[in-house]
Structures are given as C-alpha cells and as structure tokens.
C-alpha cells in the first residue's frame, strides 16, 4: 500500500480583514499518496492555487496543518521553508519564470547553488529534449521550450514532489500535451508525486486522483482507477 505523503488537515486561509475578508480556503482536508499524479480542479477563485502555495511552502495557513512526509510544513520558519522548497519541491509555473539573463543550461544549473546533490543540468535538458537549445536565452525560445526548461529546472533538484500551477495554461494544445506527457511520466515511471492545479477538466482524466474545489471548499475527491494516457485525452 502506498504511503501517504501529503496531508491537509482542516486548513483555512483567509485574506484581508473586515469587509474585505475573503476565505480562500475553507476547512480543507485531503491526503495524497507517494507517487500519485493529482489534479486539483476548479474555476478561477476556487482556492486551488492557494492550496498549492501552502503545499509549496510559499504561504502558510491561518488554521489547520499541512503535513508533508510527516513534517508539519505549516509550522516551519522562513529558513526551514527555504530548505523545504529546495529539497522537497519542484515548481513549474504557468509563465515558466525562467531567469531572462541566464541561458537554458544556466537556468537549470543554478539549482546547484541551492542543492548540492542536484542532478546534472545537461542530463536534465536531454530528458526534456532540449540539449541542442541549451545555450539559448529564454527570449530566444518558444513557450513550450521554456516550459520544458522549467521542468528540467524542477527535475534537477530531484524533488520528491512536483507542483505545477496551470503548467499548460500558456501553451498551445500540442505543446501542452508534450509537457503533460512529460509530467505524467515523472509520476508513472520515476515515482515522483506530481500535483497540478488547472481549470481544464480534460487534464483530470490523466490523474490518479482529482480534487475538485469550489468556493474554497473541496466539493469532491475522485480516484481514477485507470487514468488515461495523455495522448488519449481530447484537448
């Protein structure tokens, strides 16, 4: 039986005060097992990105606990959170967030400055099929290529969990499929836990687990016994 890796226990996150008070995450609880490919689905404003941010150690809950690998992330201080992000999490952004002044290779290799036992940048770029583009700057690459560099950067840290916030949101369908395929492989073949946030319900068909959110609450948690492969879904 797979081990529980992520545990959200009655988590609440509130933004603003007084009249402007907005409950972004309202008493949310769920678990994610090691190696699962999870999609958090919901409309804009459903609270899915806030959940991802708390899981990624970029935000802290007002109430409840976020536990990853048995450690309470929600109780960590600034320095511990930096280490947590460096060692455990690989993040893939919607708009890639590559450093414009660094080449593709350097964007991946900068991980060495964060984590000593990081993986080889050349190997990572090869894995995402960008060995021949490694000396290009982000501005000289397409969106899909940039996102693949972003994945290579996330992989270079050899993270236990990969988080993606609308990683295909800025890509065309074909490029989106390539990226998605790559992420699915990480889960099925490499054993990484992959958690994606999206509003695209088609992507959910590829996931082991789909957490549906609405107005800050979990409306449903569904398990796909036989997830579709990325190429099977209709975009």
């Amino acid at each position: 039986m797979a081990k529980t890796q992520v545990e959200f226990k009655d988590v609440v996150r509130v933004f603003g005060k007084g009249d402007g008070r907005q409950v972004a995450v309202d008493h949310v609880s769920f678990t994610i097992d090691e190696g699962e490919f999870v999609v958090i689905l919901g409309r804009s404003g459903a609270g899915k990105s806030t959940v991802l941010n708390m899981l990624g150690g970029m935000d802290t809950p007002d109430e409840g606990q976020v536990i990853v690998d048995g450690k309470e992330v929600s109780a960590m201080n600034d320095s511990e959170l930096s280490s947590y992000r460096a060692d455990t999490i690989g993040f893939i952004f919607q708009f890639y967030n590559l450093i414009p002044g660094l080449t593709a290779f350097e964007n991946v290799a900068l991980v060495k400055d964060i984590k000593k036992n990081s993986l080889d940048a050349n190997e990572m770029l090869e894995r995402v099929g960008l060995s021949d583009q490694k000396n290009k700057f982000p501005s000289q690459m397409s969106g899909g290529q940039q996102q693949r560099v972003s994945i290579a950067r996330a992989l270079a840290k050899n993270p236990r969990i990969i988080l993606g916030d609308e990683p295909t949101g800025a890509l065309d369908s074909e490029t989106g499929l390539i990226v998605l395929e790559m992420l699915q492989k990480l889960s099925t073949e490499e054993g990484n836990t992959v958690i994606l946030v999206t509003h695209n319900s088609d992507i959910a068909k590829c996931a082991n687990k789909v957490i549906h959110m609405r107005n800050g609450k979990i409306s449903s948690v569904r398990t796909n016994e036989v997830p579709l492969s990325v190429r099977e879904i209709e975009w």
Binding site: S49, T50, L52, N53, G56, M58, D59, D78, S79, S82, S83, Y84, R85, A86, D87, I89, F91, F93, Q94, F95, N97, L98, I99, P100, G101, L102, E106, A109, L110, V111, K112, D113, I114, K115, F137, P138, S139, Q140, R153, K157, D165, A170
Partner: protein, 764 residues
C-alpha cells in the same frame, strides 16, 4: 485623476523619487549655500566699496605733490584722486606695540574710512584719531579714549573719535603672526596736519577710474614724468584680494558641486522613468485607446520629474540660504571685515532651479517618448520579454568557472547598462568629493610638514622692530648662532622697464645662506641658493613665462630703478612668493642688508625683553598658529565629506533599489526554487560592490586634479602642492565599500517580504 495617479505612483516608487528629490535639493542647497556667501559678500563689498569710494589704483612713490595729483586727475579716464601718506607705525606698548598702518591725509575723496562707531573721519580734526574697529574691539578701546601711536619717530597721542573699516583691510594679519590676531594689527586715520611740517610728504596717490587702472599706466607715467615707484590695482592689495579669491573659489564650488548632483539626478530620473513607463505600458495603451491625447500622457509622465525636482530645488534654495549659506556667512564675516554681510540670493537660484527642472523634465520626456510611439493596440499587450544575448563578459576565459551569482550579476549589468553607469558614476563622484574633503586635510598636514620641517630648519624666530639697527641684529645673530633674514615688497618682470600689466608684485627674501631658512625646488626638495643667482617661485615664474637660467627684473617699492638677476632655479614655498637671494648678492647690487628677522636652532626666549625685538616665536607657536589658521577650512572639509557620504548613500541605495525592483520577479522565482533570502541579498550586494569598486578605482586618479585646482583657487600668493595620503584612499574606498555592504543589508527585509504567491499568478 492623473494627478492622483501621479501621487500614488510616486508613493509606490517612493525610494527612487525621494532620491531624485534629495539630489535636486542637495544640488540647490550647495548652490544657494555657496552663493549666499558669494552674493551676500559681493553685495556687502559693493556697498562697502561704493560708500568708501574705494580706490581702483594705487601709485606708490617717494614723494608726490598737489600738482602731480592734479596732473593724474586730468587724465580722462581717472575720476577721483586722493593724496595720502601711508606709514607703518606701532601702537603703544600697552597695545603690545601692534603693527599700525597710519594714514595721514587732508582731504577725503578716495577710500574714505567707513564709520562703524563714533564720529565719521574728519581730516581737518587734528586732535582725533580713527582706529580699525577690529583692533579696537580686540583691545576694548572706546570712543573718547586716548590713544598713542609711534610713527616716523613721533609719539602721537590723540583722542579716539571713531572706529572705522576700509576695503583695504577686509583681511588683515600682522607680519609677525601666522594667523589673524587683531591684537597685533590695526590701522589709524589722522589728519596730515598731525605730522610736523617736514614730514608732511605724500607717498601715495590713490584714484578711482573707468576700466582697468593698469591700462592707464603710460598716461600716468607721462603725467608724473616717470617719477613714481609702481602702479598697483586692487588685485595687488592683499587685504582686499584675499577675499576676492575666496569668493571666486566658492562661486566655482557652487557650480561644480551642483552639477555633480544634477548629473546623478538625471541618471536616476532616466532609469526611474524608463522603468516606470515600461511597467505601465498597458496603462499607457489603455489611456491611449480611451482617446487620451499623447501629449497629455507625455505631460503626465513628465510631471513626475518636474514636480519632484521643482519641490527638491525649492527645498534646496530655502535650506541653502537659511542653513548652509547662513553658516558660511557667519564664519566668513567673522574672519573678514566687511560691514553688513548677510546671506544673499538672486534670480540666478530660481533660474538655475528652472534649468534643472527643465533638464530633468527633458530627461523624463526622452525616457518616455519611445513607449508613446508604440501603436495603442500593441501597447495594450504586455511587452515581449527583454531579449537576452551573450554578453561581453562571456568572452572572458574564466567565464565558465564563475559562480551563478557572478554570471547572473554580470548578465544583469549588461542588460541594465544605464543603471550600472549610474552606480559607477555616482560612486566615482562621491569618491572624488570624499578625496577632496579628506585630501584637503592631508594637504594641510603635508604642507605643514614641508613648511615647518623642511623649509624652516630652525626652532625659533626673532622678529625685529623697525628701529633695530644692523649692529644689534648681528650681535643677536652671533649670540644665538642664527641666520638673519630680510623681506621686502618688490615688483618683478620678465623684461626690463615693463608696463604695470607685465609686472607681478611679490616679496624679496634675502638670506645668509646658512641653511636655516630654506627654499624647495619644484620637486619640493630643499635646495641651496647658488651665489650669483636667485630662486624665483614657480607660480610667479609661470605667470611671467620665466624658467631656470632666464633673467628676472626686479624693483624695490621705494626705488625707481630696475635690477636684474639670473634665475638659478625655480623654487616653491607655501606662502612667500617671489625672489629669494643671498645677502652677498643683494649687497653687491649696492643695497644695504636690513634684517627683519633672526632664525635659530636655539631657544631664543631670552631675546623677548630686548627693545629691538618685537616678537619671539618658537616652532611650536608657529605650528599652533598655522593650525588655527586652518580652522576655516574645516567647514569646507566637513561639508564635502558630508555631501560625499550623502551622494554615495543615495546613489548606491538607489542603484540597489532599482536592481531590486527590476529583478523582484526573478528573486521571487529564486525563492520559490529554494534560494535563501541571504543568497538573494548577496546577488544585490555583490553587484553593488562591483559597481562601487569600479567607481572607486575610477575616482582615485580623478581626486588629485580637482584638489590641486581647489588649492590653486586660493590665488597666486599661496602655493600648496596637493597631497592625498595612501590611508585616505583606503579610508575613502573602505567607506564606499561599507556603504555598499550596508545598502545590501537594507534590502534583507524586502527580500524576506517578497510575495512568492504573487509571482505564481504570472507575469503582468
């Protein structure tokens, strides 16, 4: 609505706009501060000169008659003429036999004494004396007191009628003092009739004229049949010229310092506005799409810089007049004797402020116009990311071995060149100003060492009274095994029988060549005078176009004939300008050597009681007096160090701030990736440190030139070779580096507060 937007935008980019405000304010603060002194001093002097009908020209000679004065007066460009007798006398013993310049005249047309207290000068009043008010203040004299002067062998006792001032004594220092002490220097005005008839000869004609008095020399010479010693203009009157030089120096400072701050402000404006319009690209596109005219949008963005610099300039003008300017005037009006000297200001401050505002507005215009050229539909979309390409640094052989921080910072510098230029230029300017300030101190120490340990190779200085005979001087020289020195005023020229335009007034120093009173060569090495030649000081040689081996012509003030001497070497001395020659050469010209001073390696305290000795100074006393005379420089030094610090802090903080704002998104990404705040701070610190190092390196060689120019702006009567000690370079550099590091730490909090979740929402 746009006004509200402007105020909110200013609030959002407070640090940059506050920097611009500070720089504009400091520019005008410097300008109006210096100008308050210059304009206030200028106005007070103009008024003083007008009220006293201050002379434009001085004709010195053995004796002048009324007819000669009339002949001079008949020259078309000469306005008023005054005959007078000027004699150096002594105040009574109870006033420490202070040097007292006595003026006897029976009319009052030119250089009329200005009444500070008591009755106005009356040349017909044979019972009264009018004294220099500073001297009277020093001795606590009152109107109505009796006062005795010893002059021309006469003991003249008169009743003090009033206290006066004249522009000839705006600066005054006794020849026995190294620093102004009004106990020892004064002047007195009396009626010519006070003197016995046989002494009532005039030795001076002073006059006012149109234009340059020296241009009238040929006409004056004809009017006087050539029977005069020399003609001088205001520049030759040390008591007047010293303040002119000082005010000219401050006038120069006011423009140089404000220019430096305005230049930095321009760089900050360009970088800030470029960044702001780039950030607000879609807003500009929206305003344009809504139908707002381009000129209105342009005016909106120009208004940021115009409003901020206008407020800054206004603040600077007010602060300049009432703080720095007032402080300068308080100090300088205490040092110089000019009545009614108050901080002054004129339309130039407003004009300069307008120029600064316009130039800064123009800089904003140039920074924004590119974005307004973009079609609105295009401007509505976010700009494509800044294109990156391999930078110049990548050609470095060790590029691949550089750390991430180094590569990242080098690429950032190559992508934000203007910001880097601002950082380097600002640090360089700060370094130069810092070197000027601390270097001035070093120069004072260097000159002190050179003057008191190299040139003055003695321990005691004994000054003789006028009545001291040559025999008395020789006997005391024997007793203390010393060297006798004489000094007198002379005129020098490169040609025989020159006109006044080609004449330089300076001093002739005659030494016995015993090696106690020395002169330095151009490289500041103490050099012995050769028999049959003279040493001519460097500044005077340059002025006359003379060099080693040339002939210099010289004339004593009480003699009408020109003498010639071969220049053995070009010399340097911090304060005695002119010719130095050996006693035997002087006597071989037919002049009798009349010592004014004895210098000795022995203590001469015992000589104080001798009747023919006016003062005895030990080297310690002379050094103390030198230090005191430098106190006025402290203000300038403090001022320069303060503004250098301010400039460096503003520039480096601003550079760091811009760097932070431009890279905030990247920093957030790095944080998400797991970079610690300290590692991100290091990125800012390292870059700032590099820019500082380059600024410091560029600033080091640039410090010497302005420092020497600052020393030279004190006039031709002072020759101070500038010197910056190695420790000063180290201190200045260390300060710049320290600010750089501290600025890095100032961003620690902001880095910690970076909102990573905002970054995840994507690009603007």
């Amino acid at each position: 609505m746009l006004k509200r937007k402007m105020l909110r935008d200013i609030k959002n980019s407070f640090a940059q706009f506050f920097s611009i405000f500070i720089l504009a304010a400091v520019a005008m603060w410097c300008y109006t501060g210096f100008q308050a002194n210059v304009i206030g001093g200028g106005e007070a002097r103009k008024d003083f000169e007008s009220k006293t009908n201050f002379a434009d020209g001085w004709i010195y000679g053995a004796s002048f008659s009324q007819e000669q004065a009339q002949a001079v007066s008949d020259i078309s460009d000469i306005k008023d003429v005054q005959l007078r007798t000027e004699v150096l006398g002594k105040a009574d013993e109870k006033y420490n036999t202070a040097e007292l310049y006595c003026y006897f005249q029976n009319t009052m047309n030119v250089t009329k004494p200005y009444t500070m207290k008591g009755a106005a000068y009356d040349p017909d009043d044979t019972d009264g004396v009018w004294l220099f008010y500073r001297f009277a203040d020093a001795w606590g004299l009152k109107v109505g007191d009796s006062f005795t002067a010893h002059v021309l062998g006469q003991d003249i006792t008169k009743t003090i009628r009033g206290f006066v001032a004249t522009p000839e004594y705006e600066f005054a220092c006794a020849s026995t003092d190294a620093d102004t002490d009004y106990h020892n220097i004064g002047f007195a005005y009396m009626s010519l009739s006070v003197l016995p008839e046989q002494l009532q000869g005039y030795n001076e004609i002073v006059f006012t004229c149109n234009g340059n008095p020296l241009k009238l020399e040929s006409e004056i010479s004809r009017a006087l049949d050539g029977s005069y010693a020399f003609l001088a203009d205001r520049k030759s009157i040390d008591g007047y010229n010293r303040l002119s030089d000082e005010l000219n120096q401050h006038d120069g400072f006011s423009y140089v310092f404000s220019a430096v701050f305005v230049a930095i402000a321009l760089l900050v404006i360009i970088t800030t506005m470029k960044r702001m319009v780039a950030k607000q690209r879609t807003q500009i596109g929206t305003l344009n799409a809504l139908g707002m005219k381009k000129y209105k949008i342009m005016l909106h963005y120009m208004s940021f810089s115009v409003v901020i610099t206008a407020v800054g300039c206004l603040t600077g003008v007010v602060l300049g007049i009432f703080t720095f300017g007032k402080m300068m005037v308080d100090i300088f009006s205490d040092f110089y004797s000019v009545p009614d000297w108050h901080p002054g200001y004129d339309a130039k401050s407003i004009l300069l402020s307008l120029v600064i505002v316009l130039v800064c507005g123009l800089a904003a215009f140039l920074s924004c116009r590119m974005i307004l050229k973009i079609h609105p539909s295009e401007a509505l979309r976010p700009a494509a990311g800044k294109t990156a390409k391999p930078c110049l640094f990548e050609k470095l052989p060790f590029w691949n071995k550089l750390s991430f921080t180094a590569k990242y910072d080098l690429r950032d510098i190559s992508r934000s060149k203007l910001r880097a230029v601002m950082g380097v230029f600002g640090t360089m300017a700060g370094m130069v100003i810092m070197l000027l300030g601390i270097g001035a101190y070093d120069t004072v120490d260097f000159v002190k060492e050179w003057y008191f340990n190299d040139i003055q190779n003695y321990e005691s200085q004994v000054l003789f009274t006028d009545s001291c005979t040559t025999e008395e001087a020789f006997s005391i020289a024997d007793k203390y095994d010393g060297e006798l020195i004489s000094t007198e005023l002379i005129s020098i020229a490169a040609e025989n029988h020159p006109t006044s335009d080609d004449i330089v007034s300076c001093k002739l120093t005659v030494t016995e060549g015993k090696g106690l009173f020395c002169v330095s060569d151009e490289d500041l090495n103490v050099t012995k005078l050769e028999k049959g030649s003279v040493a001519l000081t460097m500044k005077q040689a340059k002025k006359l176009g003379l060099k080693k081996g040339d002939t210099v012509y010289w004339k004593r003030s009480d003699d009408n004939s020109w003498n010639e001497s071969r220049i053995g070497f070009i010399s340097r001395h911090p304060s005695i300008m002119g010719i130095t020659m050996l006693r035997e050469d002087y006597e071989s010209e037919g002049f009798s050597f009349k010592p004014m001073m004895l210098v000795s390696k022995q203590s001469c305290e015992g000589a104080e009681d001798l009747t023919y000795v006016s003062a005895v100074h030990s080297l310690k006393d002379l050094k103390a007096a030198f230090d005191k005379s430098m106190e006025i420089m402290d203000l300038l030094v403090i001022f320069m160090v303060f503004f250098a610090c301010l400039l460096i802090i503003v520039v480096l903080y601003n550079s760091g701030n811009l760097s932070f704002n431009e890279r905030e998104k990247e920093f957030a990404t790095l944080k998400v990736l797991g970079f610690k705040s300290s590692a991100i701070r290091k990125l800012i610190s390292v870059q700032n440190l590099w820019l500082s190092v380059i600024g410091v390196i560029l600033g080091i060689p640039l410090g010497q030139g302005p420092l020497q120019a600052m020393m030279d702006s004190n006039g031709d009567q002072i020759d101070w070779p500038c010197h910056v000690a190695p420790l000063t370079y180290l201190l200045a550099a260390a300060f710049v580096m320290a600010v750089s590091v501290i600025v890095g730490f100032m961003f620690q909090k902001r880095i910690k507060k970076i909102n990573m979740t905002e970054v995840l929402k994507g690009m603007e």
